[in-house]
Amino acid sequence: MAEPSVVLNKPEQAATAREQDLIARVQRGQNELFYELVRPYERRVYAAALAILRNQSDAEDVAQDAMLKAFANIRQFRAESRFSTWLIQITVNEALMRRRRERSVVMEGLDDRREEESDYAPREFADWREIPSEALERKEVRERLAEALASLDRKYREVFVLRDMEQLNIQETAEALGISVASVKTRLLRARLMLRDLLAAGWEQGWFSRLPFEKGTKPW
């Protein structure tokens, strides 16, 4: 059985020394280096904004605003947190503020009042084995994954995106969204299992079937 560490992505260590150097230089006033500093994270910043706003042009707007805000406040960044996490947290704040501003309070209220369901029973037990990451080279696969994610309720989608795509930890996810650690865990469980169900159904319908790997070997 694979160790959990194989699954859960670890923060990239290699880029750190170079990144610290870049941060220090931007903090000292070398503004032109800022884009170089944030370029590795631009996709993550956009994805975080999109997860919350679900609209491409709003997400791009917020991504740009968040980057500008990070630039303006770069001196407040302290090395004890990861730079990427700091950037994502700024983005989430910006996106949540925009949504609060644009959505009616009533809608927000209704959405949040729904009960948390901690027990979720998987529905699909299709024969899943490790799906190689090469599958993601196919646009069709990426689109199906994105559709499945978009079909989740907001509260599950946001937690899933921040934890499993943006790689924030549970505590950081809770802080960014202003919810409890327990809620993050509950929603994360449900989001992961729902996605698994949605994709397992796809597996049975054969949309993974043209993938270039051998089928039929059971993992057990």
């Binding site: 699954v7 503004n31 800022f34 740009q64 960014a176 469980l189 397992a200």
Partner: protein, 213 residues
């Protein structure tokens, strides 16, 4: 061999996410591993959940619209040029702006005294457009309420969450920075000595002038 710690499928599903986070204790981990060896359905759920985490965690799942990087770079370059040509740094920028704001605020204050207008402060007119049920945070020993995560919160460790309506009732005033979009007009000199307020008044300076009669 009978395992006292045996877990059933429902318990496994309930803990599977924590298991993958490595957040279960060792007794539960052992029991779950034993269960997976015997239960094909739960193994399938485990493998599928792993696939989900691994596939979505891949950078390729994060696509940006065409031209996104170019537009972002351009925007940042503009901003970098502005801040390096006019002022050497952001903090240096704050000083003259804060000073200007104080002068502008002072003039406005003097004006309103001369023409005998009632002073309008944030206390008298807390931002009308703030949704009353919006959740805001206040911190100990401060008189300002903020959007959660606003970087101008003092004493971030001691924040309390409440609705905007309650905050206003308790005498807190909106942070001009994070609540700016809800405040339809900037009011006159705000008697708050915090540097954040000064910086904000700088940002609101234009409004001050345009609202002055």
């Amino acid at each position: 061999m009978v395992n006292r710690e045996a877990v059933n499928c429902e318990q496994v599903w309930h803990e599977i996410s924590n298991y993958l986070e490595d957040e279960v204790d060792s007794a539960l981990r052992t029991a779950m591993e034993e269960h997976f060896r015997a239960c094909k359905r739960c193994t399938s759920v485990l493998e599928g959940t792993r696939n989900v985490i691994r596939l979505y965690g891949d950078e390729r799942m994060m696509e940006v619209p065409a031209g996104f990087s170019r537009r972002l770079e351009k925007k940042l370059a503009q901003s970098a040029r502005v801040s390096s040509s006019r002022w050497s740094t952001w903090s240096a920028w704050l000083v003259p702006v804060a000073a200007l704001a104080l002068i502008a605020g002072g003039l406005r204050l003097a004006n309103s005294l001369i023409i005998n207008q009632p002073l309008k402060t944030e206390h008298a007119q807390p931002g009308h457009d703030i949704p009353p049920d919006m959740l805001v945070v206040v911190s100990a020993n401060a008189k300002i309420f903020h959007v959660a995560g606003c970087e101008f919160i003092h004493n971030k460790d001691k924040v309390r969450t409440l609705t905007a309506k309650e905050a206003i009732r308790e005498g807190y005033v909106p942070c001009l920075r994070c609540m700016r979009k809800y405040l339809n007009t900037a009011s006159a000199a705000q008697p708050v000595s915090e540097s954040e307020a000064n910086a904000d008044m700088g940002a609101e300076e234009e409004d001050l002038h345009s609202s002055g009669r």
